[in-house]
């Protein structure tokens, strides 16, 4: 595995340690990051789809986003 490290600064003793993550910690870290990326992509996809649907409804009424902004909406 690649060498992931974490830094721990104990202010009381002023000790600073750079510690290499264990295999188990690296596996967990990668899983957490992958889950977060998956959720972020899904959220962005859903937001884009909702925006596209809303713009289609506006267009059906003969309106644009700029028309709504001009009305202060």
């Amino acid at each position: 595995m690649s060498n992931f490290t974490k830094m721990i600064h104990n202010v009381e003793t002023n000790e600073i340690e750079i510690i290499e993550l264990s295999d188990e910690e690296q596996t967990q870290l990668k899983a957490e990051r992958a889950d977060w990326l998956k959720a972020r992509i899904q959220a962005k996809t859903e937001t884009a789809a909702k925006k596209q649907a809303a713009e289609a409804k506006l267009a059906a009424l003969g309106l644009t986003v700029e028309d709504l902004q001009a009305l202060g909406l």
Binding site: F4, T5, M7, H9, V11, I18, L29, W36, R40
Partner: protein, 202 residues
Amino acid sequence: MCQAESLAIVPGTIPIASIVANSSTSTGLEWAAPSGGDFVKVTSNTFSNQSSVTVDSVFNATYRDYLVTIRAYAAGGGSADDLQLQLRYSSSTQTSDYYGSYFQYDRANTLTTNGYANVSEMTICRNLGVGSSAAEVTLRFFQVNGVDNKAGIYGQGINIADSTAVLQTSGWVNVSRIYTGFLIKSSSDNITGHYTVWGLKS
């Protein structure tokens, strides 16, 4: 020329500075080193390409609140990572019960929001940049001693990478305990930067 008698110190008040004798200076006087106060730097440090940065044993009964400044960017070059924060107690990390909200408003007049409840960490900044486009935030940690109420954090900053956005963040952890430190990390990348902690007396 600096004259000691020009300082007006009213009895019963705390002088903001003192002058002491020093025969090696041209005036024979010098400013005394500050011996503490109500707004005191506790620590600072840098970090580079870390999966997480833990600052332990930094909160104690000396100060009621703390001010923390953080500069951070995504070490791996990511541009869609959140900067996240968790509180520490003893040698453990609080990994649940965070409630809070976040928004940023950028130079293109785009508003980004993020409200959350009962999650595993606070969001400090979204869409971290790289290098000179780091995010800079100032956070106030309050009631971390667990005596008055539950601990919370609020603050503001700038996210240069994400269209020079101004950001506001606030959060609260729904578990009463004495917190002694904090941990920062990115959602999907390593981080590089620095932090400084100040203590605030009430």
